[in-house]
């Protein structure tokens, strides 16, 4: 008996790191899961590594595109017949910069990737969930959804924004058996952070990737980055029946970094 037997989930950015940990946690509790990612090859590798057979499916596409996010939800419903849990997890920055030097292109990319993707996915997911009066929407926000670091203006702004979206939506559907929450991890050394961290460190005036990791760690009480499994455990709680009365929350997984 799994905590998610009979449930169907989709996860943007689900082939690696945080989304992947969520996918594994959900599958181990009996859910069927569609993972999404840009790269077909990484998607196939993810399916092989997970070894969960028909319980997991891959949907290729860039989640900063509306057609992809909406397509993922349609694909999930057509593949597994329903959508119970929608994890809007992907996000990040490419070439971040202080506001004075921020390019329109980077700004637009971050808004599409971190904020619009969440809106598009949430709207479409709720359209499936409201008639069934059942559902869970989980947004992977960030510690930067409550704080703001120099050099990460777009990330901080969009992560703050999704927290507002989550709170408003939670109140809209609160009596319909649907919860909407965001999870706010501290820095985690995910693949995407390893890829873009060096450039971000420069934009933040920190010089190196190692210094970036150290600055985030030093602001926490645990003096280390967080781990994907820590986020997945919270996602599982919120996705399961045990989470039915938790909604509109900005759930911290940050080792004590945020002041509130």
């Amino acid at each position: 008996m799994g905590k998610l037997d009979g449930k169907v989930a989709c996860i943007t950015g689900g082939t690696r790191s945080i989304g992947r940990a969520m996918a594994e946690a959900f599958v181990s509790e009996g859910a069927k899961v569609v993972v999404n990612g840009r790269n077909e090859e990484k998607g196939q590798k993810c399916l092989e590594e997970m070894g969960a057979g028909d319980a997991v499916s891959f949907f290729a596409g860039d989640s900063s595109k509306q057609s992809v996010v909406e397509g993922l939800i349609d694909f999930t419903v057509s593949t597994f017949g329903q959508l119970d849990i929608c994890c809007l997890n992907s996000g990040g920055v490419q070439m971040t910069a202080p506001v004075a030097q921020m390019s329109d292109e980077e700004w637009a990319l971050e808004v599409d990737w971190n904020l619009n993707h969440v809106f598009w996915g949430m709207r479409k997911a709720l359209q499936h969930m409201i008639p069934r009066e059942s559902g869970r929407v989980l947004v992977t926000s960030s510690v930067e959804g409550k704080l703001g670091k120099p050099g990460l203006p777009g990330y901080a702004a969009t992560k703050h924004a999704v927290n507002g979206l989550v709170k408003a939506a939670a109140h809209e559907v609160g009596t319909l058996g649907i919860t909407v929450n965001s999870i706010l991890p501290g820095l985690i050394e995910t693949d995407i952070v390893r890829e873009t961290g060096p450039d971000s460190a420069v934009a933040m005036g920190l010089g190196t990737y190692e210094t970036l990791i150290e600055v985030f760690s030093s602001e926490s009480a645990i003096k280390r980055p967080n781990k994907v499994e820590e986020v997945a455990a919270v996602a599982l709680l919120l996705a399961s029946d045990a989470g039915r009365n938790i909604t509109g929350s900005t759930f911290p997984v940050d080792g004590g970094t945020m002041p509130y």
């Binding site: 609160g174 009480a221 781990k227 820590e230 455990a233 919270v234 709680l237 938790i246 509109g248 004590g256």
Partner: protein, 260 residues
């Protein structure tokens, strides 16, 4: 195999209500659990109902005294050899009144019951947890630890104070394998609430106990009260290994009531 096999937990105010649900959840995951309460008789009944044999133990003590609080922690160590998990759960408030009419005694009683009890048990438990390099402390705070209602100043003040204590101590022991968190439930219709809320309703200017229940429910997104199991499940998450990355947090379990 339980997540908490070999762990020893202590729950103040554990014979009924939220504490009892937490105790049962911890037992289910393999921990040995000490429950505390004032009444020897209620303790005996609780142990019988929980039916956990040697895995559960009752310590009769009044959390409104330092001696009582210290006896609960030292009694846990005496019984099971150590203390890994402290849930400072007891609390409540009587003799509510608007601030202009509050007595010193009412304020003092609430601070001792809620805040000093949390401090006394936390200090005592940390004395054991720091040398062993592992520990989980959970303070059962309240949605009223984040917001404030007219007529409930004694309770609101005490719960806000607990949240401050949690944040400071989390940073003190963050690198020692010890986490300190507060859970902030919305209103739950526990035995203690049935006892004290009628008077609180009067102090809040409401016509009845039912009106007070309704007021709390209406402020949430789910438009109903929370349940003891909601809190117990979050406590399991916080006490698990995956909970190692969550500390200094004030976790809302309130159906979307608190704004942050």
């Amino acid at each position: 195999m339980g997540e908490l096999d070999g762990r020893v937990a202590c729950v103040t105010g554990g014979t009924r209500g939220i504490g009892r649900a937490i105790a049962e959840a911890l037992l289910r995951e393999g921990a040995s659990v000490v429950i505390n309460g004032r009444s020897e008789e209620k303790g005996t009944v609780a142990l019988e109902e929980m039916d956990a044999g040697e895995k559960a133990h009752f310590i009769s003590a009044d959390v409104k005294s330092r001696e009582g609080c210290e006896a609960i922690v030292s009694g846990t160590v005496e019984k099971y050899g150590k203390i890994d998990i402290l849930v400072a759960n007891a609390g409540g408030a009587s003799n509510h009144a608007p601030v202009a009419e509050l007595t010193d005694e009412a304020m003092e009683d609430s601070l001792v019951w809620n805040f000093w009890h949390t401090f006394w048990t936390m200090r005592s438990a940390l004395g054991h947890m720091i040398p062993q390099g592992w520990g989980r402390i959970i303070a059962v705070s309240s949605v009223e630890g984040k917001v404030g209602k007219p007529g409930l100043a004694i309770y609101v003040s005490a719960k806000h104070a607990i949240n401050g204590l949690v944040k400071s101590s989390a940073h003190e022991v963050g690198t020692l394998g010890i986490t300190v968190n507060a859970v902030c439930p919305g209103l739950i219709e526990t035995d203690i609430v049935k006892e004290v809320l009628p008077l609180a309703a009067e102090s809040m200017g409401l016509e009845s106990y039912e009106a007070a229940l309704d007021l709390f429910a209406q402020e949430s997104a789910i438009k109903r009260l929370n349940e003891v199991e909601d809190v117990a499940e979050v406590c399991l998450l916080l006490t698990s290994e995956a909970g190692a990355g969550i500390t200094g947090s004030l976790i809302s379990i309130d159906g979307g009531t608190a704004p942050y």
